[in-house]
């Protein structure tokens, strides 16, 4: 295909590929998925619907559980004894859709409670273990070798890169989630939230607060206001 045009440059070089070649695991996933569809275990549309469902879960269930626990000592007690039961109260059946979790969403979920002198932060050095039914998909950085290998060894430096610098009198406790337990962090309820409703509190417990790389602050939420454009002549 390469040839000189009269406009004086050649087209010899190919454009850089937009994506890497697929990995062995991706090839394996496609093979298993296609076999399952062929066998009639589920349809391609079921698969798409589940992907759509899984990708939109988000951290709100876990945020609401933390907000509820800040307000209600009875709920807090339930949260610290049985997260699976507690998650039902915020509308999540943790065992769905398989009925028993998945090999990645094991069902021993634990809450790490911060205090004014103790700050938890979660990592999975082996892969990217994460309580997805209540926290949604991991952020990309959570899966990177950079975060995983550095957080366990240089937690203060990594937290500083997230904008969180803590004094030496605060103990930083890294939780390496390397087996079947899954974790969320329950931060200290910040000052300036006295008298707030559950909805108000839920809004400031962002995903990063639940992983432990940020602290909740009044006025800081993950809700980004996107401008919605209307078509000319649209009466709404």
């Amino acid at each position: 295909m390469s040839k000189k045009h009269d406009h004086g440059h050649d087209h010899d070089h190919k454009a850089a590929p937009m994506v890497e070649e697929i990995s062995d695991f991706e090839a394996l996933e496609i093979a298993v998925r296609e076999l399952a569809i062929e066998k009639g275990l589920f349809t391609a549309e079921d698969h798409r619907r589940f992907t759509e469902f899984a990708e939109q879960i988000g951290p709100t269930p876990a945020a609401r559980m933390v907000a509820k626990a800040w307000l209600d000592p009875k709920f807090k007690q339930l949260l610290f004894t049985d997260v699976i039961q507690a998650s039902k109260q915020v509308g999540v059946d943790y065992l769905k859709p398989t009925g028993f979790g998945t090999p990645s969403d094991y069902t021993d979920v634990r809450v790490l409670e911060d205090t004014p002198t103790l700050k938890h932060v979660v990592v999975c050095t082996l892969c990217s273990c994460y309580p997805r039914p209540i926290l949604g998909f991991q952020p990309e950085w959570y899966r990177t070798p950079n975060y995983r290998r550095r957080l366990v060894r240089w937690p203060r430096q990594v937290l500083a890169e997230f904008g969180l610098s803590l004094p030496p009198e605060v103990e930083i406790r890294v939780e390496d989630s390397n087996q079947k337990c899954r974790f969320i962090v329950m931060p200290v309820r910040p000052k300036g939230t006295e008298g707030w409703t559950e909805d108000q509190l839920t809004a400031i417990v962002t995903r990063d607060c639940l992983i432990g790389v940020a602290l909740p602050k009044p006025g800081i939420t993950s809700n980004i206001k996107l401008q919605v454009m209307h078509a000319p002549g649209d009466s709404h």
């Binding site: 699976i84 943790y94 065992l95 398989t98 009925g99 028993f100 979790g101 090999p103 094991y106 069902t107 021993d108 634990r110 050095t125 082996l126 366990v152 060894r153 937690p155 203060r156 030496p168 009198e169 103990e171 930083i172 406790r173 890294v174 939780e175 390496d176 989630s177 390397n178 087996q179 079947k180 337990c181």
Partner: protein, 121 residues
């Protein structure tokens, strides 16, 4: 029987979850207590493990006894007939990383082990 039955896991875990489905399937009560000092053994791990190298030989303290489950070294190969107790162990960061700054001597790290990886310290 686990071997040869692809639905074995679904059968035992549906409605309970995993690791809850393995409750009561280890040999007996946990060998270590909360608060006990333990050393992480340096066992061979030719095929599969979830015991991180950075913890091998380190001494920590049992923080939580979590659940019973087959050890990942067995479960990875479908051997789920035997379970072990699992423990969250808390280490001082300075006991894991020699260069950890003395100014942050209170910092800690927790991670989880099956019983075979622990010995009294």
């Amino acid at each position: 029987m686990a071997h040869g039955d692809r639905n074995h896991h679904a059968k035992i875990a549906t409605g309970k979850g995993d690791p809850q489905c393995f409750k009561g399937t280890s040999d007996g009560p946990p060998k270590f207590k909360v608060g006990q000092r333990v050393r992480i053994r340096n066992l061979p791990d030719i095929f599969y493990t979830r015991c991180q190298v950075y913890t091998r030989g380190a001494v920590g303290e049992v923080a939580v006894i979590t659940h019973e489950s087959p050890a990942p070294e067995d479960e990875a190969w479908g051997h789920v007939d035997k379970s072990e107790w699992f423990y969250i162990v808390r280490f001082k960061q300075k006991d894991l990383w020699p260069e950890y700054p003395a100014a942050f001597a209170n910092d800690t790290l927790q991670t989880e082990f099956s019983e075979r990886w622990l010995e009294p310290a």
